[in-house]
Amino acid sequence: MRVSDKRTYDRHRDELTKLRSRFVAAQDRASSGRRVLAPSDDPVATSLALKERSRAANAGDHARTIDRGRDRLDAADGALGGVADVLRRAQELAVQASSDTMSADERAGIAAEIREIRASVLASANEEVGGRRLFGGHVDDAPPFDATGAYLGGAAAPELEVAPGRRVAVGLPGDQIFSGPTDVFAVLDDLATALETNDEAGVRAGVEGTRSAHAQVVDARSALGARSDALETASAVVERLEVRALEAQDELVGVDVAEAYLELERARSAYAAAVQIAAQLPGPSLVDR
């Protein structure tokens, strides 16, 4: 085949251009840590990576939501812990006061302490965190209990989505803790009144009442505890989901470092060889004779 000079030079030029662009692309991949530099480099991987990115972001959202939910459950648990303590104290006082040896004056003194306990329970039941009442259910912008102990809040506690398709209620509406089946405020009111009026039968009823009020609050605490556990489970799940999505994304569009450096070295030597050869152009020719 005849070889024309133009063709020879054109081929060297094209070859150099091609090898140089391969070299530059290899440099970009190695330095950016991305195998897919533009969507068209690998459309399928690009598309799948977008889905994984969305999944990872979703898992990140859930993790943040879980943190918020945990904060609320912890706050509710703390408040109920205090309530349980004072109710135990009320129960002890009721037992003490039910003794036959108690004088009317002594009972009146205990009544004052019971009134204080009632006030502290009411304050806890109306506790707010960040402007939101812990035990108001959905209606959390106003005290859920009025001075008489009547419940004014919402019927349900807000739920949060803590994992794909998994919702957990982060809290309990106050009426389930304080109003029924045992009405905590009524129990304390009745006990105080019985002590003040030196009504021995009433005081004895108060022993039973404070015991079941205490048990009711403890039950509510363990219900909240179960929800905290659910959050922990969800937390492990979304963490795994996030890690998996990030790994998948990296696998799709990220670079295998060893492979990237190998390719960089290959591209560099191919380019260097082509430069070497081109530098020897035009080669032996009759023109030089």
């Binding site: 133009k6 068209s40 209606v139 020719s285």
Partner: protein
């Protein structure tokens, strides 16, 4: 034959060697000229009587070419032009969908995240502001992507206009050159340089639109668009392409037997064909897909939002303004009128305000629900598949461009092996003709000496 005749033979030899050297020099100095076809000197003997003839003469030079290869070259160039123009035009996709920080998918993820926070704190003014800001981020991302796709379309239209001008200019010069060649070749000599110029112009036209050529005796050439519509006729009449703006796009017409006709059907190759294909194919498809996604986003969020109640206890409001039409929906996507921090709905029941977050939850769930593409996939999946399709069209266009480049390269190798200049060859010829010149000079010298000796005979 007389001794003076011998002098004449020597003179002819010197003249033809000199003329042939001129051809070699022309070849050598044009070794890199695009479109140059190497020439061979046409030497022939000067016939007698008297016998045996009076030496050699050059009757001109001729281009060395293979018409079959030249014809294949036109087809290959059309394919290369088409491939290159399509790939250039669709490269816009890599920019529109390559930026992963501000794209529609990321904006939708951010909006979902903001709704998640709203569900955690349904009455919190900051959470509400963030939802509105993220929603504006979604409308911005849609507008930006839509604008870039529109620019790509405008760019294709502008390029089509430019290519049409380039074709028309070349058609006129081809017709002019045809006439010049006709005049120059009356003496029976080939007007090689004019033909090279003309053929180069024809190749440049072929790179832009698919053409076939028919050579005529008089040196003219007819150009047919896709083998059917005449661009340059046998008698040098030019039918120019006419680019016309109709609506948003440029359309191309050609005059066929006097009547302007839509040329789209003939433009299935060349740069113009590639641009039309990109503009009306993948670019238009991506635009529609983006608009459709915008409609799905607007309706899905508005449906979920309308089920809820704002802090003011009023329900039934949209979140995004519902688009009136699919076309242009991505560009026009906007928050519903009157939506603000207080009217934003998070609650499913006006009696359960403000802590009820059920609608915020369902709004956060919108992006994971099958609401896009007629309820077959999620919004982010629809975006991912839109990007996947666009990227596929780019990589396909790149592959086709590379294949077309390789095909041109192959035909060019053939063409160069026939018509390209090899400087070494020319050097050999140069020595050959120089030697011929020296030999012819020797003949003159010898004839002169012989004449001198004849003159001395009388003394």
């Amino acid at each position: 034959m007389s001794l003076f005749g011998l002098l004449g033979t020597g003179r002819n030899g010197m003249a033809s060697a000199q003329a042939a050297t001129q051809v070699t020099s022309h070849n050598t100095t044009n070794a890199s000229t695009p479109g140059y076809t190497r020439r061979t000197a046409r030497l022939e003997p000067v016939l007698g009587p008297p016998e045996p003839g009076a030496g050699s003469r050059m009757v001109g030079s001729r281009r060395v070419l293979d018409t079959f290869v030249e014809r294949r070259m036109l087809g290959a160039l059309s394919a290369r032009g088409e491939g290159a123009a399509r790939a250039e035009s669709l490269a816009a996709f890599d920019v529109v969908f390559g930026d992963s920080s501000s794209d529609v998918g990321a904006a939708l993820d951010a909006l979902r995240s903001a709704f998640g926070d709203l569900a955690s704190s349904p009455a919190d003014p900051t959470a509400r502001e963030v939802v509105l800001a993220r929603a504006r981020g979604v409308t911005d991302a849609f507008r930006s992507a839509s604008d870039q796709l529109t620019w790509a379309r405008e760019d294709a239209n502008a390029r089509i206009g430019g290519e049409v001008d380039a074709v028309n200019e070349r058609l006129r010069r081809i017709a002019d050159l045809g006439r010049e060649i006709g005049k120059a070749e009356i003496a029976g000599r080939e007007a090689s340089d004019l033909r090279d110029m003309r053929d180069q112009l024809v190749r440049e036209v072929a790179e832009r639109v698919p053409v076939q050529t028919i050579e005529h005796e008089n040196g003219g050439v007819s150009l047919l668009l896709s083998g059917s519509a005449s661009l340059v006729s046998a008698d040098g009449e030019v039918s120019e392409l006419v680019a016309r703006r109709t609506g948003d796009d440029v359309t191309i017409e050609i005059s066929m037997s006097g009547a302007p006709t839509d040329a789209r059907a003939f433009l299935d190759g060349g740069r113009i064909g590639g641009l039309l294909d990109a503009r009306d194919g993948a670019l238009a498809e991506a635009r529609t897909a983006l608009d459709t996604l915008a409609v799905d986003v607007a309706n899905a969020y508005s449906d979920a939002h309308a089920a809820g109640f704002g802090l003011d206890g009023v329900g039934g409001r949209d979140f995004f303004a519902r688009p009136a039409a699919v076309d242009g929906a991505a560009r026009a996507l906007a928050l519903a009128a009157g939506l603000d921090r207080d009217t934003l709905a998070a609650s499913a029941d006006p009696a359960e305000l403000p802590g009820d977050n059920r609608v915020a939850l369902s709004l956060a769930g919108v992006s994971n629900a099958l609401v896009a593409d007629g309820g077959t996939r999620t919004l982010s999946d629809a975006y991912a598949s839109l990007v996947g399709r666009a990227a596929t069209s780019v990589s396909e266009a790149n592959l086709r461009r590379d294949a077309a480049d390789a095909a041109v390269d192959q035909v060019d190798a053939l063409r160069q092996s026939v018509s390209g200049v090899s400087v070494d060859e020319e050097m050999v010829d140069l020595v050959r003709y120089q030697r011929g010149y020296q030999a012819a000079l020797k003949i003159v010298q010898t004839a002169d000496e012989m004449l001198g000796e004849l003159m001395n005979l009388k003394r």
